[in-house]
């Protein structure tokens, strides 16, 4: 499932100074729904980055390494969107609940370091932490070491976490550009592994808007890309008739729109044209859930004669 690019690359620039941000990160960024991407940059501090790449410094603790976390306040089905921060150095190490905009440290959730420089999730009963192709878990009281909770076949280099659409869903992003939704209550993968089709530094799901965003660093410059949750069409099959062609008869014809990995592309508009005699009932139709678009061809009353050519195209 390769997603379709909506916008980008959008370079990350300090909106106040006009300067590009440093390329070295002092922690894994995390997406704050409705607010922006919290991005710790080595020797600069923490920026809040808007979807168009405008970055604002919201903290200037420069020598720290941060772990940024999702915290599921409340029960499993009424969790709120909370955030936490692990700090490693200087004063007050440990895990703190933070206000995302002021980065005010509220409750000290844990005196110990959780996972510096990584995203993790603090759920009502355990920590979750993406690493490689798996999710590791650990009790909140640290009574056990990290252990594997699940593995995702086909996923590698997982490093980012974000909230999913459902209250019990997390989205794991990977440096390979892959992502997978995970139900942490049932401990099962949801759906198939998707991809944006290119490597990235982190990949998050913005549940409020239903899009994905990815962070890329090239030549020392950070940039964001936004991705629609829908599949990028890459293949359009040749149109075919579903019944033998007969003079004066109406026959159904269909074509299928697929993505790069043979996954169907629903809701794509397919334009039909005919060269030669006869007419199409509808000149534009929409693909169904399986990627099929269908229309009808009305054959001429007179059999034989000129060749008939059906053409299809999809706008993307």
């Amino acid at each position: 499932m390769a997603l379709e690019l909506l916008a980008g690359p959008l370079p990350l620039l300090n909106r106040v100074t006009g300067q590009a941000l440093g390329s070295s990160l002092s922690g894994m960024p995390i997406w704050l729904d409705g607010q922006g991407l919290l991005l710790p940059v080595t020797n600069e501090g923490i920026y809040l980055v808007q979807l168009d790449g405008a970055a604002y410094l919201v903290a200037d603790d420069r020598s720290l390494v941060y772990g940024l976390a999702l915290t599921g306040a409340g029960g499993p089905l009424n969790r709120g969107h909370g955030y936490a921060m692990t700090k490693t150095l200087i004063t007050d190490p440990g895990e703190w609940a933070v206000d995302p905009l002021t980065l005010y440290r509220g409750v000290r959730l844990n005196a110990q370091i959780i996972t510096p420089s990584h995203n993790y999730a603090r759920l009502h009963d355990r920590y979750l932490y993406p690493i490689g192709s798996r999710l590791d878990c650990r009790p909140l009281d640290f009574s056990q070491d990290w252990q594997r909770e699940t593995s995702f076949t086909g996923l590698s280099n997982g490093n980012s976490l974000s909230w999913g659409t459902q209250p019990t869903h997390l989205v794991i992003g990977a440096e390979t550009g892959q992502f997978v939704h995970y139900d942490w209550l049932t401990q099962r993968q949801v759906g198939t592994i998707g991809t944006i089709g290119m490597a990235c530094r982190g990949l998050w799901y913005a549940a409020h808007h239903g899009i994905y965003l990815s962070l890329h660093t090239s030549d020392g410059q950070h940039a964001l890309r936004l991705w629609a949750p829908t599949v990028q069409p890459t293949q359009l099959s040749a149109p075919m008739l579903l019944a033998p062609l007969q003079a004066g008869h109406r026959v159904q014809c269909q074509t299928r729109v697929l993505g790069a990995h043979q996954e169907p592309c629903p809701n794509e508009v397919v334009r039909w044209t005919v060269e030669g005699p006869g007419e199409l009932l509808l000149n534009a139709t929409t693909t169904d859930a399986e990627g099929w678009a269908r229309t009808y061809y009305d054959a001429p009353l007179e059999a034989g004669g000129a060749a008939i050519t059906l053409r299809v195209e999809v706008a993307c």
Binding site: E4, L6, A7, L10, R15, V16, G34, Q35, G36, G45, I46, Y47, L48, V49, Q50, L51, D52, A54, A55, Y56, L57, V58, A59, D60, D61, T91, D92, D99, L101, T102, L103, Y104, R105, G106, H209, G210, I211, L226, A228, T230, E268, V269, A284, A315, C316
Partner: protein, 358 residues
């Protein structure tokens, strides 16, 4: 960026007529030789206090705003401490006189009850009486287990002392009567000044020009703003005060301009952040001719915070808009639905209307 709604007159230098009592002293190169040859004989050195004076709550006058600070001058002793007074409503300069305290006076700060505290360079805090003379009530840093205070705020009624005691990004909160440490309030930038607002709330200015409104009794931070563009601040460079009569935040920041152009003044801000950036309109679904596409519009302030407002939208003839005026929500966001009428490229133009007094 906060909404500027007050600006006082510039802080003025003395004229020769006002220094008649010292004119018998020849300006000497021994004192502040850099002032020789300039069109003047003194210059502002440092601001060390900003407070309001509401004439004991009387509403018959408009109240005054006071700056205290130091000037350098070309005759002995080479410095002077002044108290400059401005009208709180018109901003007009009302006069100057000697600031309380002598050479060892470092800062004047206003407590939560409106009383003034003089900070000595040797550490103690002296409460000043109505005659601007020490009352004899003194607080010593060692009572609170520290060597010295930086910026501080004293709440006599609720028994709190809030202070910076080192260069950490934190405020320390103590019990005033016992000196016992109560709690620490961490901030994301180093605080450089703080002032009382009401209840147990205070504004804290940080070196990044970001302001935090917090409750010092329980440590809760209510919000953050940014003053606006300008150089980074440091402890002692800039002062803030809350004007309770006009409910505005006051700021005095020494002008960076050199020489004798006096451009230091008191600025007042309404606590209303002003949007400074309109994000590029971003499609939230794939763009297809003939289909409706939601497009995200967002306005943000210079801290990166979303700000509500009204956005006007215009688009080319190949795009049909669901509406041309959008109200942004509390996150500063709104979604407009755009229909592409035909294939091709079109430009969407956004205009943000910012309600502001200035």
């Amino acid at each position: 960026m906060l909404c500027l709604n007050f600006c006082s007159a510039d802080l003025p230098y003395r004229t020769m007529a006002e220094v008649a009592d010292t004119s018998h002293l020849l300006p000497s190169a021994l004192y502040n030789a850099d002032l020789l040859g300039e069109d003047g004989f003194e210059c502002l050195d440092r601001i060390d206090g900003l407070y309001h004076s509401a004439a004991d709550g009387e509403l018959v006058d408009s109240g005054t705003l006071v700056i205290t600070g130091w000037t350098r001058q070309r005759w002995w002793p080479g410095w002077a401490r002044w108290r400059w007074t401005f009208d709180a409503e018109s901003g007009l300069f009302l006069g100057r006189d000697a600031a309380p305290g002598g050479y060892y006076a470092q800062d004047v700060r206003q407590g939560c009850g409106g009383e003034l505290w003089l900070q000595l360079i040797t550490g103690p805090l002296q409460r000043l009486g109505p005659d601007a003379q020490p009352t004899g009530e003194t607080l010593r840093p060692e009572t609170f287990g520290v060597i010295s205070f930086g910026a501080f705020l004293i709440d006599l009624a609720q028994d709190w002392l809030i202070a910076t005691v080192n260069s950490n990004r934190a405020l320390q909160v103590y019990r005033l009567s016992s000196g016992a440490w109560s709690h620490t309030i961490t901030l994301s930038f180093r605080p450089v000044d703080l002032c009382y607002e009401g209840g147990s709330r205070a504004y804290v200015l940080t070196e990044s020009r970001q302001l935090f409104l917090l409750d010092y009794a329980n440590g809760r931070i209510y919000g953050a703003f940014k003053l606006g563009p300008g150089p980074a601040l440091w402890l002692g460079s800039t002062r803030i005060a809350w004007d309770p009569r006009y409910r505005r935040l006051l700021l005095v920041e020494p002008s960076a301009a050199r020489g004798f152009a006096y451009t230091t003044r008191i600025q007042g801000f309404a606590l209303r952040p002003v949007a400074t950036h309109l994000c590029k309109p971003l499609p939230l679904r794939r763009l297809r001719a003939g289909q409706v596409t939601p497009v995200l519009v967002k306005a943000i302030g210079d801290r990166g915070e979303g700000l509500s407002g009204t956005v006007q939208i215009q688009a080319g003839s190949q795009l049909a808009l669901s509406q041309q005026t959008l109200s942004l929500d509390g996150r500063g966001e709104a979604v407009i639905h755009v229909t592409g009428l035909a294939e091709g490229n079109e430009t969407v133009q956004l205009t943000l209307e910012i309600p502001c007094l200035s």
